[in-house]
Symmetry: C2
Subunit: 80 residues, 2 copies
């Protein structure tokens, strides 16, 4: 089963990387771009076949390794 | 209009960051995890209101700045 994880900075947390991208886009002539936020996207294959168990396992991975839950949110999607 | 951009490594391109995550997950006791690939997820607000023009503009941003098209794929989703 394929799992897709999005890890994004919580709103209110400063995102200097996003600001740098926004500034670079504006220097390249792209106008009207705002609120650029950069996060991580992780894809993986899990051997578990029960979607409920698989989702719980991947959420546990987020809590223990993939995301810093003090400043980041995570969301897990499964693709059967 | 909100745009979400996924930037992923092309298949066949080595992903040492994904490998490191996979190894760390296995060290933490998560079994059966494979093919971990890490990409980028960028959210932004664009002032353009025509979805067709907005998508074309964001794809142009991907080509010129956000993605390295030699080794990375990008996909753009718009949220009206």
């Amino acid at each position: 089963m394929k799992a897709k994880v999005h890890i994004t900075l919580k709103s209110g947390v400063l995102d200097p990387q996003g600001k740098a991208v926004q500034h670079a886009l504006s220097s390249l002539g792209f106008a009207g771009v705002d609120n650029v936020r950069q996060g991580k996207f992780i894809e993986m294959t899990v051997a578990e076949t029960d979607p409920v168990v698989a989702k719980a396992t991947v959420e546990q991975m987020c809590k223990s390794l993939l995301a810093n839950t003090v400043i980041e949110n995570y969301s897990v999607e499964l693709e059967v």
